[in-house]
Symmetry: C2
Subunit: 454 residues, 2 copies
């Protein structure tokens, strides 16, 4: 590890040791033994900071809790991992996490009616209102990942044996949420460009009606899918679902938090987003936004009464299981939110950089972009069978030569060893970083004498 990055982590860890001294002390202050300990810790810290400044010293901390490596790939490298890019914490989120990491940190001022989304200090209630408005929906709840949003909706709307329409590129968590609710998925086939169209969705609904004698219980479609990150005809699909009177879930795992999403305009009854995938938050986190028509159903409160005690917990929402994200997950969502809102306004620039990289890749002979092109997203599936894989076929490290070449240039997040079809994500890279990335690919191609296109 770069010694200055190493020393940055060591300084952070030294400060956590200092926090530990305060935590173990009395509110009246430190005793002489604690003061002495603090003095030693501060001396350690100062030595680390001196090394940080000078770029000197040797690594002194290489493991956390004896077993965990210090994870520094975001500081050390350019990370093109397909699902990590937009989940990286903002600096403010990292500060919030330092401050609010402890277990139930959201619960200091929990008062009646004792529900997470009603807490005003910190401003969790206000955040929920903002989330709903931002997505142009009526209600919003935070959930432990987008999948828990699918689950809440499927569990509320899908009866045993019901059909749910998903896309032929649906994420596996949609399959599981439907299965858990006792339903059956039916996939909308793709057109020749790997796009889910409104027409194909209408056709699939008709097929289901003909085969089962019943309309599907739910249409659940990804705006951009996880395989190609192609853009599907989401607004048209919403219209089709509504023509049949079927509720429509908009899966925004790859959109909410990176581009503007307007649930009303799309005609979504539900908008689901992922905190750790696209909202710069700790996992597992996400958002389920609901319109006023379906809120009473999916956000229904408990009706159960204890037969002996007659207890009721009427404010608690069944599908949420009461409170959902009671600590650092939620606080990172909140701390990142101003930056996340702002960054969605610059999605066009992210897409421009994505296309810049794709263009550079395509200049390397034999390379293909399997996703729709020009790109409308930063996640891209590429096929380098005709370029980088031609080298792997005879290289003693096989496909790992390519990973070696990338990592020697400080690029990580590719699927190690893969040189045929694989995915990468340029989200969040600056122009300087994306140019560096493109140049690195070109350099590797030149090194192995892969011909460039004219």
């Amino acid at each position: 590890m770069n010694i200055r990055i190493q020393k940055t982590f060591e300084a952070l860890f030294a400060l956590e040791e200092i926090r530990g001294i305060f935590r173990a002390s009395l509110p009246t202050g430190l005793d002489p033994g604690e003061e002495a300990l603090l003095g030693r810790r501060i001396a350690d810290l100062k030595a680390i900071v001196a090394d940080l400044e000078a770029g000197t010293g040797a690594p002194r901390v290489t493991r956390i809790a004896g077993t965990l490596d210090v994870r520094s790939r975001e500081e050390q490298s350019i990370n093109i991992h397909p699902i990590q890019a937009a989940g990286r914490l903002t600096t403010e989120a990292r500060k919030a996490l330092i401050s609010y990491g402890d277990g139930y940190s959201t619960c200091d001022f929990c008062r009646k009616p004792f529900r997470l989304d009603k807490i005003t200090k910190p401003g969790i209630a206000e955040f929920h209102g903002e989330l709903a408005r931002w997505l142009h929906m009526d209600e919003a709840r935070v959930v432990p990942g987008a999948r828990r949003g699918f689950q809440a909706v499927a569990s509320s709307l899908v009866e045993k044996g019901d059909t749910v329409i998903v896309s032929a590129l649906a994420h596996y968590t949609e399959f599981l949420a439907v299965e858990e609710a006792g339903g059956i998925v039916k996939e909308v086939p793709l057109d020749g460009r790997n796009i889910v169209t409104a027409d194909a969705t209408a056709q699939k609904i008709e097929d289901v009606r003909r085969e089962t004698g019943k309309l599907p219980a739910l249409v659940m479609i990804d705006h951009f899918d996880y395989q190609f990150a192609n853009e599907h005809e989401i607004a048209g699909i919403g219209r089709v679902a509504h023509q049949y009177g079927i509720p429509f879930l908009y899966n925004g795992a790859y959109t909410v938090g990176v581009m503007p999403v307007d649930g009303k305009r799309i005609g979504a009854d539900f908008v689901v987003g992922s905190g750790h995938k696209s909202m710069a938050s700790v996992a597992p986190s996400g958002v389920l936004a609901v319109n006023e028509e379906y809120a009473p159903k999916v956000l229904r409160t408990t009706g159960m009464v204890g037969d002996v005690t007659k207890r009721k917990f009427g404010i608690k929402e069944v599908e949420m299981l009461g409170c959902t994200l009671m600590g650092g997950t939620l606080l990172t969502m909140m701390a990142s939110f101003p930056a996340v809102k702002e960054r969605t306004l610059h999605w066009d620039e992210e897409v421009e950089r994505s296309n810049f990289f794709a263009g550079a890749l395509l200049r390397i002979g034999g390379s293909r972009v399997l996703s729709e092109y020009p790109r409308r997203h930063t996640l891209t599936k590429v096929d380098t069978t005709g370029s980088f894989d031609t080298v792997a076929r005879t290289h003693k490290r096989r496909g790992f030569y390519f990973s070696d070449e990338l990592s020697s240039r400080g690029i990580v997040g590719e699927f190690a060893g893969a040189t045929r079809t694989w995915k990468l994500n340029t989200y969040g890279l600056t122009w300087r970083q994306v140019r560096y990335l493109a140049d690195a690919f070109t350099e590797i191609a030149e090194k192995y004498q892969i011909p460039m296109q004219r």
Copy 2:
């Protein structure tokens, strides 16, 4: 805020700003502008550390992301909040969180078969094995809170209209998990000491059988309940459930992570624990451990097949919805785990300090302990109607006088304004801290001339 604590946070935040510089840079190093910025940030940091050392300076950072207060109650105060005590992060967990806070941080080396609990770097697979062995169960999975463990079990075992036996002190999340699965809770009444007995559980099972013609689908009982933290006859209840052939879920939200739990000895088919409540982890987190009899049912893998694509996701577990805690939640559980295992071996000392405090409270005339006494847990429900509330009745600040008195002594986490029945938790306090706590209560009583017992 104590200025040295304030400066500790400011130093941490300054270092996060420094991390931000590295994150925005190229892998080849900082450019001159970035070097200059780093230099200024390091100068800031050194000034903060100098203030930390000298105890000088004024607060410069009071908000995160413009709206969030810096949460410093664990550093500043003694926190007796009923549910926060055992969820506070260990120092190692705080370091892990700094390092692994970003979104999908667990996924750097995810390889086939692409499931969280199979990842070996970091050692997530090994941790799952250790968790299961530690609880004396056959399989373990991490889940987003104990409630998601109840949900997975209820969803697997409870059909519409089925009965689930819970305690008259059951947590509301058990009600919700059963309701979500379409079942109905039936409560085991308490005996005169507010204990759920094996005999009463057997009686309730008989009642259900007589009334519904069917045995309950599940018995789900808290070892220590959330109201009194009384110890219930958990092993006897496990035996009773098994005599009837009913699966038994041991709710260890208040035990797993603070005291030794042996699922085999208890006769548990399921052991559920809470990471943010009792395992020093970020919320939402928890564990669901299962014996080999029920693992195939509750941890069943998906059987759904895409009708168009023929896609299958056979390794993914339906109730887990695939992966569960893909980031800082899991990494804090793992980083705290060595300390958590160790601390369960000293539970007797925690209980001794709990009793020490309860004894001191009981010497204040008119005070009562509503939980079983002597205490077997660190969470305690007290009744100060006859002591501190007598002052509140005529005080212009009403019950808030008591909160004022506590907070002026650096004690937080009581339910603000409550002077009749309320709960507190001494978990994790040192002897010095618990003596200070007891003395503070005595001092307040003396100040308001509440008579002491002889």
